[in-house]
Symmetry: C2
Subunit: 150 residues, 2 copies
DNA sequence: AATTTATCAGACAAATTAGTCTGATTAAAA
DNA sequence: TTTTAATCAGACTAATTTGTCTGATAAATT
C-alpha cells in the first residue's frame, strides 16, 4: 500500500471540496457522499486544517473549504500533510543512513521510480482532477458502484 | 510505505542468500548479518519456501537456499510472495470496482506510475543485485552504518 | 438569550501488522 | 543411537493504524 487509508481519504475529501467549489462543505456531507466514517474523516481533516491546507468553520453553515486556489494545491501537498514525505524520500528497503555515499543495491534502479512517484503527485493539482471529475463525471466514492441508487 | 516490513526483510534475506551462493544458509546467519529478528525472519522465509522461492533443510548444515537460478528470480516474485500484487494492481485511492469503464480521476496520471513500479521490480533479478553487492561492496544490512565493528 | 448545527479535542476500541517465544520435528554428525 | 543444530508450527505479545464515541466549543439562526 503506497498511501495510508487516512491519506487516501484526505485526498478524496479535498477533491470533493475542490470540485464542489462552494463555501464550507460540511464534513457530514463529505462522509456521506464518499462513504467514509464521519469521525475518522473529521480527524483527518483536522490535520489538513492544522497544516494550513483547509480552513474550517464551526456552527451552522460551517464545514471546511480549501485554504488556497485548488490550482496551487497538489496531491503531494495533501500526502505530505498526512503521511509525511517518507514515501518519496525513504528507501524501499528501509535501510538506515541511506545516501549516495553508501548506497544499497536497490538504489540504482529504485531511485528513478521513486522520483517519478514524487513527480507524479507534484505535477497534478486538485483543480485539474476536479475539472475532470465534473466534466467527465468521474466517480469519486468508496461504496460500491451500481449497488445503490442513482 | 510501499512495501511491508516483512517484504523488505524477505528481499534482504533472499539477496543475501543470492550473493553468498553457497548451499543452505542458516536463518541465524541471515538474522545476525542483516540485523533482523530471527524469529520474525523465520516466519517470513517460511512463506517464501511455501511459495516455492526457497528450499529449506532442517538439522545441521541446514538452512535455506534459492529454489531457482537467481537470474530467474525477480524482486517482483519476492514481493508478490509476501505482500501479494495489490501494490501493482490496486488503485492508489483504494476505490472499489476499479477499471477502465469507471475510472476514478486519479487513474489517468497514476496508472503510468503504477506500471513503472511494476516494471521496476519485474526487470531486476536477484542475480544482478547480488553481483553489484559483491563487486561494489554495497551494504546490505539494517543496523547502523559505522556504529559497530568492521 | 436560547437553540441548533457544526468543528474540535481527546479518550477509547478494533483491526492489522510487527515481533517474540516455546515446543515439535527433522537431519547430520559424533 | 544419541546428541546437536537447524527449520516448522502455532500461540502469544506489542505496536501501529484504523475506526468509534462522548463531550466541549464556536458560530449562526431564531
Ligand atoms: S541508497 Fe537508495 S535504495 Fe539504498 S537505502 Fe538509500 S535511498 Fe534506499
Ligand atoms: S480507475 Fe485507476 S486510479 Fe481509479 S480506482 Fe481504478 S486503478 Fe485506481
Amino acid at each position: 500500500m503506497v498511501l495510508s487509508k487516512a491519506c487516501t481519504y484526505g485526498i478524496l475529501a479535498t477533491l470533493y471540496v475542490a470540485k464542489e467549489n462552494k463555501e464550507f462543505v460540511p464534513i457530514r456531507e463529505l462522509s456521506d457522499e464518499l462513504h467514509i466514517s464521519f469521525h475518522f474523516l473529521t480527524k483527518i481533516l483536522q490535520q489538513l486544517t492544522a497544516q494550513g491546507l483547509l480552513i474550517s468553520l464551526k456552527g451552522p453553515k460551517g464545514g471546511v473549504k480549501l485554504a488556497k486556489d485548488p490550482a496551487t494545491i497538489t496531491y503531494y501537498d495533501v500526502i505530505r500533510a498526512i503521511d509525511g514525505d517518507e514515501v518519496f524520500t525513504e528507501c524501499v528497503l528501509g535501510l538506515p543512513g541511506c545516501g549516495h555515499e553508501a548506497p544499497c543495491p536497490i538504489h540504482e534502479f529504485w531511485s528513478p521510480t521513486r522520483d517519478l512517484l514524487k513527480t507524479t503527485f507534484v505535477s497534478q493539482s486538485l483543480e485539474e482532477s476536479a475539472y475532470q471529475i465534473n466534466e467527465l463525471k468521474l466517480r469519486l466514492s468508496l461504496g460500491h458502484w451500481n449497488l445503490e441508487e442513482e
